[in-house]
Symmetry: C2
Subunit: 411 residues, 2 copies
């Protein structure tokens, strides 16, 4: 199947024919024109939980350390996921971590990063204080919580994982929790419909995702039922935590094929590829794998870099994929896994450089052209934001589709 990765990237690119005009309005005839892509339309994402920690910490050394980490993060990514786990976001009823979360969202937005909130409804990491209420009250509070948070963050958060892991939700039996209770009583489709309606009503422009680690037929069937019920799903979220080994091309193509048939955008929302020993296959719930240490190894780091390059290349080639989010930026987060682009001390791993080479090398357009006698330049570039520069000045434009326009430079 390897031959299928053939840089089929036409859908990521567009043609531009631009008449460049000097600041005085005359054509930039014969001038050397530098064309530089400065941002991407595609969402290259990563968990950005440390942005919240950066806003929260009062420790100078920790702040400096996290600042350094987030600077490396910002060099790679244009899209960040912030935590909204109800139990952590509102540990006591009415007492939220809104201020640091909002500060983090603003901080990212000011740096050109789009932000997704994760998740608005989930049975895991849920608020324990909800369990004192009747199911009616739990649902009422769940919808109220969605209204409150989507509304408060409307100016800075444009995407939400509205509901997480619905396939297992009503049959989840590890421990009692408020959300499994209401999902069991209402059923999956009515609950998903209710939470999506609450989010949509509050921010009609937001991109609303359903998200699951289950990539079986069961998730396909659920999506069918939800679309049948007219749930306003903007994009299908696919988790791909590969602690037990890289999916490989066969599974990847299979998942893409099965979930693309709905005609909706696909987001890879939680991707993990590790640079150490892989977790034994007999572990069913990844959370059951509790280790003291999970070291990164030199061979593991080379493998991780290769797998990341391959997987991102496949996904970037698929026309329906609009976003890929790697879950952990650094090692030692979830399950202590060596799952990051940087080690715990922020030093870069081969995967950091490999992904940087793709995003800001192979998939980014930089051209030096000579304008013709009427000031025209033509090029094919990856979709995103651009600057155009000559000795006389510069200007910016956005390449979203084939484009034919005049552009007057500012001096």
């Amino acid at each position: 199947m390897g031959g299928v990765i053939m840089n089929q990237l036409n859908h990521r690119q567009a043609n531009a024919r631009i008449q460049v005009l000097n600041p005085d309005g005359s054509p930039a005839a014969g001038r050397t024109v530098s064309i530089d892509q400065v941002s991407h339309q595609f969402l290259f994402g990563c968990g950005a939980f440390d942005a919240v920690e950066l806003m929260r910490t009062q420790d100078d050394r920790k702040r400096t350390f996290l600042q350094e980490r987030m600077e490396k993060w910002l060099k790679l990514f244009n899209y960040g996921t912030l935590p909204f786990y109800w139990g952590r976001y509102e540990p006591e009823e009415g007492k939220t971590v809104y201020p640091e979360t909002m500060a983090a969202a603003r901080w990212l937005r000011e740096r050109g990063v789009q932000v997704k909130g994760h998740p608005l409804c989930w049975h895991t990491a849920c608020a324990p204080w909800l369990m004192q209420y009747s199911n009616d009250e739990i649902l009422r509070r769940q919808l109220e919580r969605i209204h409150r948070d989507v509304s408060a963050f409307k100016d800075v958060i444009g995407l939400w994982d509205v509901i997480n892991e619905v396939v297992i939700m009503p049959v989840f039996d590890k421990y009692d929790n408020a959300i499994t209770r209401i999902c069991r009583e209402l059923g999956r489709v009515p609950l998903v419909k209710a939470v999506f309606a609450a989010a949509k009503e509050t921010d009609p422009d937001a991109v609303l995702l359903i998200n699951d680690f289950n990539t079986s037929k069961a998730y396909e069937h659920l999506i069918e039922d939800l679309l049948e019920a007219e749930v306003p799903i903007s994009a299908i979220g696919i988790q791909s935590h590969q602690h037990q080994g890289y999916w490989g091309l066969e599974k990847l193509y299979n998942v893409l094929e099965r979930f693309s048939r709905f005609g909706l955008p696909i987001h890879f929302t939680e991707n993990t590829l590790i640079s150490g020993d892989i977790m034994p296959a007999h572990i069913v719930d990844l959370n059951d794998w509790q280790v003291e240490e999970w070291p990164s190894t030199p061979e593991g780091e080379d493998r991780q870099a290769r797998e990341i390059s391959e997987m991102y290349s496949v996904l970037f080639s698929h026309p329906q994929v609009e976003a890929i989010t790697t879950w952990d930026f650094n090692d030692g987060c979830w399950l202590k896994a060596p799952s990051g682009f940087v080690h715990q001390d922020n030093s870069e791993k081969p995967s950091y450089h490999a992904l940087n080479q793709l995003i800001h090398g192979d998939w980014e357009t930089h051209e030096t052209l000579t304008a013709d006698s009427s000031g025209y330049v033509s090029f094919t570039g990856f979709k995103g934001g651009y600057t155009v520069r000559t000795d006389a000045g510069s200007a910016g434009f956005t390449l979203e589709k084939d484009l034919h326009q005049q552009l007057t430079l500012n001096d």
Copy 2:
């Protein structure tokens, strides 16, 4: 004594002789030159607690309302006081409201506002959880708290009320509290020395204030003892809550005379003049005046505007005064008093316009001049930041003292 207010403002002004050069370096000979003051060296301050509330609230309507309020605030002031009352800042040991306080400080700084933290040590509004500890432990935690907070805010907060109301501190007997305990054991001077040392060590560049409502001989004596003990006081803070009626010129000049003899800058840190009935004189502790409602009246609003104009004029005329902070921006805050520049609904009171006329009218320099044949303009202006503009371009400069310089405009 009224005759003494004679706009003796030479110390607030400086002379500028500027040779204005066109972008190409030639003198702007004969050009019309607009000189506009855009900021003040003097600190025109106000309580900015609502900036923290703005960062904290998750309610859309409240956010819009507070945003509108802070926009009016920003039109008048360049200096804001943020709350650091230990009991509110750290309601449970280790759980602080750092995120929203930092977000508010950054928000103000980004808008050109200097920020003061108030206070680092005070017996009132102190943390109740401190009382479980021995005096040694209380002191240790007090100093640690100063290190932690001054360090965390070093980049955004340049001034601190290090210790508040020391005159009454060891004899304060309304209720038991941790700070009165340690002040009683150590004595005033050693405690003040210790807290100033902790602040100075953490941020040697910060402006460190002592602050008191007591303006009697007792405060003078305390300051003498502190200076004798080489406590690094940067400025003397004077509170002037005038709920029981305007001090009047006699008291004002008397306080200025007695506290200027130390040769230190004087900050009026907490000024209140109300626009309603005044509190009866028999009330000794202002906090004992508990009313259901304290209305603002038309006559009261006119009186407040006159008193504010007079008091600010006297203080601005005094060479040692560097800052005046009005405590409440809006009515209905402390003691529910009608003490603001705006009503509770954000509508402006006469005092708002009166103070605006002083700060951004009488005490702000705007000139339209004609450059001489060598491009020179000369003027006398209030100290602060300026822009210079001609048809050919503009540039900025700061007027801190008499100035003779060339300035090349940017186009």
